[in-house]
């Protein structure tokens, strides 16, 4: 089973990278960009049936820093289902 984990800075935590990219988009002339936030995507290939509890634990112990980041878990189709 493929699992896609998105790790993002919590709302309210200043994102210096996002701000710099926002500035560059402005500089390129793109109008109407309200905000830019940069996160990280992690794809895992795990055994089918890996529990949500286990996935959450992976995120909270290592993949995200819960002081500054939130995460979401998205389960993708298994290879055999295609």
């Amino acid at each position: 089973m493929k699992v896609r984990i998105l790790v993002r800075l919590k709302p309210g935590v200043l994102d210096p990278q996002g701000r710099a990219v926002h500035h560059s988009l402005d500089g390129l002339g793109f109008e109407g960009v309200e905000d830019v936030r940069i996160g990280r995507m992690i794809e895992l290939d795990v055994a089918d049936g890996t529990s949500d509890e286990s996935l959450n634990s992976m995120c909270e112990k290592l993949l995200a820093n819960m002081v500054i980041e939130d995460y979401t878990i998205e389960k993708l189709e298994t290879a055999g289902a295609a």
Partner: protein, 225 residues
């Protein structure tokens, strides 16, 4: 009694030798060098230092991989038992990632790597690490980091301030740190994490010796008493 210190080396540490030299210079005894993959610490340690560098190439987040290395499990146990632990720069990042200190160290607000000597106010001159500084002292210590922007929520910051756990504060904004925090103590006062490098300010040839008193404080407290 000889001062029995350990300096930990992770893959990517690059200030471990500087830290070992500073400890030997001040204490007269060379520290034991410990490798990240060791499961156990040497017995009867007086002091553990986590040095600066880029452990595990800063993969995932600065300090995140090192915080989960075999030696860190033993260091967490030792710290909870009261063994003094100093983390400098990447060592501070490892201490926050391991949960021994609150908060997190984010990318500098300027996005730039910052490498210069900065003035620091010693906010707490009663701690194990800072007892040798005069009240209100301002010291010059080098910083060299990309991820030194200290973040914690307001409640945590208030608690740190209220409990005298802010050890060092930048005298002017350096990297975007909340409340210009440069170094903090744990609740018991035996763990100090700081972004500036005291081990780079212990000899005249360094251009300043303001960091020396930190090592003198902790070594004096532990050995001289």
């Amino acid at each position: 009694m000889a001062f029995r210190a350990a300096v930990v080396t992770f893959p990517g540490s690059n200030c471990d030798r500087d830290m070992a030299c500073a400890l030997e210079l001040v204490s007269g005894t060379a520290p034991i060098r410990v490798w990240h993959g060791d499961a156990d610490l040497p017995d009867n340690l007086d002091f553990i230092a986590l040095p600066g560098g880029f452990s595990y190439g800063d993969y995932l987040r600065s300090g995140a991989m090192a915080a989960n290395s075999p030696i860190m499990r033993s260091i967490v146990v030792a710290a909870e038992r009261g063994v003094p632990v100093l983390g400098v720069c990447n060592g501070f990042q490892v201490l926050t990632e391991s949960g021994l200190l609150p908060g997190a160290l984010m990318r500098n607000a300027s996005q730039n790597f910052i490498c210069r000597t900065v003035p620091l106010k010693v906010e707490n001159t009663q701690s194990l690490f800072t007892g040798g500084y005069d009240a209100g002292a301002v010291i010059d210590i080098p910083v060299a980091h990309h991820d030194g922007n200290y973040f914690a929520d307001e409640a945590t910051l208030d608690r740190l301030e209220g409990d005298g756990r802010v050890a060092f504060r930048y005298q002017a904004p350096v990297n975007g740190s909340r409340r210009d925090i440069a170094g903090i103590l744990n609740a018991s006062g035996n763990v100090l994490g700081m972004m500036p490098h005291p081990e780079r300010a212990v000899e005249d040839a360094h251009g300043g010796t303001d960091g020396r008193r930190l090592f003198e404080s902790v070594i004096g407290e532990l050995v001289g008493a």
